[in-house]
Symmetry: D2
Subunit: 336 residues, 4 copies
């Protein structure tokens, strides 16, 4: 039984880890830490945890306690995460960091994007980017994983087969992405009040969203990235516009690389919707060619909290600890 | 043109007054005050006000400015409202108070319910309860209106014909009420975050909700009142359980009193839903008798922000100023 | 590995069985039948099934095929189900019937409620009511289970401890219940179009809903039952009004019977909301006493598709086949 | 008082006309026709119409009855509309056609797009495209108006100032549009069942949507048009990607043409959301320039049922009959 610790357990990705791990046969949460809620019952914040976790308490962020875990999931804001994860690694604990701090190959790009100096450049170089479909072998041997961003997972799984195959113009890519509101986290902010969100839809962070540089680094394309906020809780749909260089058949060939993946499914010219993915750890991808303009329109869907965060983190843990990669991960979404 | 002032204009009832009055042919908003947002554009908080109100600013709560209005709508928390309204009345301005401060006939009951001493008992006695279907004549001559609560409007319009006709047991009434979240106001509170509200439904204030005493005073019944929070923005549906004393036909006769009302519609044994009322200033009522238990089940629906607050306030203004009662008020709901 | 068949697999309860069983370690779906969709891929109707079930097809309702399963879940309309289940039993296959056909002890009451003659009175007598918290031992030895209705599960788990303890007036019970729209099934009907349901809320089947007699038989109370339709997909909240005969402490004592249950949780005077239960196989119950009227107000929540249908069916299967009762069943809800 | 007839009054645009006209001071609905619902009360389909329209019935589509109206709004499917509108015009009645039949300048393009032969090419040439911000003078003298499509209104109001100013590359425009589900109409179709739509989001009609050619004709650009379906009832947000040829300042200059428009508002680099527009007859537009790629990202929002259909139709009627253009039209949205 893998002993799991979660730091920053009070947020939505922390909750989602506790939910997913409640039915994982090879791992159990032994330490759920939250600085702000230390001493309170986890079920006071998430009543649905009562049935399985009973009267478990959030604990303080105590690195000694954390060090007794086999692996720690860090669900902290970028900037804060790097140092804490560093100390855990120094102490010999494996870490999956869900923040942006250990995702970038190019540390300058990280520092420019997040306007922050990286406190552990040594580890930033060592850390492995936790996208198992591309980095499986490295993840297996890693002690520190930079778990990909939600928009990035949806975008890169769609784009990278095309850039690797060299069949699109890498300088004219547009990603028009739409996310459920859980992506904004558990906030007490009028802007996220039900009355303000229900019935609404908006673009935000246009030309300035931080995930842009991570998408560009991991896909190798120059990207105009426009995120929007949906009136749903979970799920991301990214509509990707590329100018095709090769011909249509190259597209299917490029995506054939996912054929044996348990969590990435290419549907040809059938385009997935959010419900196909939401509730599961799967990414679904479809692509359609527009003769008139020579454009390829790719649609990619994931659950932002699962494949876009906590599920992918568990997938990485499975790989790191030699378990079958699908262990304890949902392969069918909620639909309802 | 009636010059209208709104104090506490930044909340949802204040917004709704600005929306309704934008298409009222005989009144215009000349003063929108908000202590917390003074100096900011109204369209910064509610962008949809831009098209009609342009760059209008929220002003500070300046009683001299307010005194130049023909009527002031006070959209303030109970307790704070009584004094400000009192000063406006002292200065000769008519006032419609949307708080609970001037609603009660029994001032002791108010003080017990709200745990507060009433600062203007003189005016509390003079104030007229703003339910036009019962108090039309008094409202016409009033200078201070206590505008009814939202749950109370739905409940009392359903119950009072029955208690006045003496055909139900007044001591065994249960009101199981369900409200849209706009009733909770414009709050930056995790509990009202979209992610927490969407897909949820809950009871709250069970056995303790403050509207209970107002319902009891205005209907003449002893009431178990259980409010619930719906995953919708607008609308209240109250399911009322009464033990019938008279016979079934008495029910239709009792509700016949609404026949000529423009804003209250009795549907017989057809039960209304929230969509029938939401977006309009109308209350719809239906009633069904259960042979097995001798119970009458009455369903009553309103839009909590319109007939339950701002629309009823405008209706009261129309009566106070001698305009046709329906002027500028929506008689058809949104449906969509 | 238990070989599972599902008849009527195209509806929501059928889908939910396929979803739940995709992560059940001791059972697998080997036969998914749907008369109307025979020959089509299950993923054409529910695209999210693609990732796990791949190109599996709905098959025709072939009883020989079904007979090769260890257990069949029947997700058919009442009336149609009795006969098919009967033939399966005759052929030696165990059956969990999710329709109403094998739920009643009193067959006359069934026939009166559903206006139908029961074609297999022999089996109706033998069938065991599948509420494990009350019938665990009988279920273990049964070959035919009548799986409880969704409203009934929420209502009876709340009421039966009180009626068994004799501490409420059994003749004055009111159940004001609210259900998500998945309870109405997968219908192409304007009344369930998103535009008609979103933002709405309504009572339906007032004084006439069929679940009333099942609630009365299983709880031993005379009940006014008023169901309402929520603007959410999953979950039931039942607000139960009883006249308390005993005193307040008796209430906690009565519910103590659930202390060791993995799927029923009593919260004292804290009242659960739908999110506490939705997505899990748990029922949460809270109760509050109103001094003024002597009434007890009980709130009970379940997920209508899980504890109210497919999850409970799997729980029954676990008991029938000697697996730990919680195997493969979610004990933590979605929250998001 | 303008006497208004509505043909196809049972759909959502017909309903919306009845709702808007219920508070229009210079027009009244005297004839509401629906072939499928003739003889039924309008309030049976839309209960909220009860309060204002009482027991009004849908009538059969009787052209003699229609001919007694001053103006008829035709809310019929494309193809069916052309002929009926033609007969009304022949009989001397003015017509606003909400279908696509009289929108195109290029009749060949219409026939190719809708795969239909136009039965009244004579009138198709005479008809005026009902976008008042561009065609006000012609509308004033017209007897037949082709009322623009919803996606087209949002797209063309955003694009045309840019193409007319010649500051974008007209061959590289992408419109990623998102619409509320009321755009799909009042359908009894499983795909629009609440359970299927809530929590979902999808692209549809990718590369093939019919509005593409109308957008291209009215904007003068070659367009990749990708519509998506939102989990909300009302509103369209179009995210438009253009390659800017001129410089940033030209953008503000181009949109200055809307400065005096009551229903089109340019917000500079502030981007509108759906709530800004929904419930009003306004279109809100904002534009942001991306240095890195030279792209201009324009966001445009309308209410698909109001400015995108019935409100614009009333605006056209106001112009045709010499009323102030804003008469009876909402300039403030619902927000809630």
């Amino acid at each position: 039984m893998i002993k799991v610790g979660i730091i920053g357990a009070n947020g939505y990705t922390g909750f989602e880890l506790m939910r997913l791990l409640s039915s994982h046969p090879g791992a159990e949460v032994v330490f759920a830490a939250s600085r702000s809620l230390a001493g309170q019952k986890v079920a006071d914040t998430y009543p649905t945890l009562k049935g399985f976790y009973g009267d478990m308490l959030y604990e303080d962020v105590d690195l000694k306690r954390a060090a007794k875990c086999d692996v720690v999931f860090a669900c902290l804001p970028h900037g804060q995460s790097a140092e804490i994860c560093g100390k855990l690694i120094d102490g010999g604990t494996k870490v999956v960091d869900l923040s942006a701090d250990y995702r970038y190959d190019d540390i300058d790009l990280y520092e420019k994007t997040y306007k922050i100096e990286h406190p552990r450049k040594d580890l930033a170089k060592e850390a492995v980017y936790g996208l198992p479909e591309y980095n499986r072998d490295k993840i297996a041997g890693a002690r520190l994983i930079g778990n990909p961003g939600c928009y990035v997972t949806a975008s890169v799984l769609a784009l990278r087969p095309l850039t690797e195959a060299g069949i699109i113009n890498k300088r004219t890519v547009i990603i028009d992405a739409k996310s459920g509101t859980s992506g904004a986290g558990r906030k007490g902010d009028v802007a996220y009040n039900f009355n303000e969100v229900d019935g609404n839809f908006k673009a935000y962070g246009v030309t300035t969203h931080r995930h842009t540089t991570e998408i560009e680094e991991k896909s190798g394309a120059v990207v105009t990235f426009t995120p929007h906020l949906l009136t749903i809780k979970r799920g991301i749909l990214a509509t990707v516009y590329c100018d095709l260089i090769g011909n249509e058949k190259d597209v299917d060939a490029a995506y054939a690389r996912y054929e044996k993946e348990p969590f990435v499914h290419y549907l040809g010219s059938a385009l997935p919707d959010i419900k196909t993915a939401a509730g599961s750890n799967c990414c679904y991808i479809g692509a359609k060619y527009e003769e008139k303009t020579g454009r390829l329109i790719v649609v990619s869907c994931i659950d932002n909290l699962i494949k876009g965060a906590s599920g992918q983190a568990v997938q990485n843990m499975n790989v790191m600890f030699g378990l079958p990669e699908t262990t304890g991960l949902p392969r069918v979404g909620f639909h309802l």
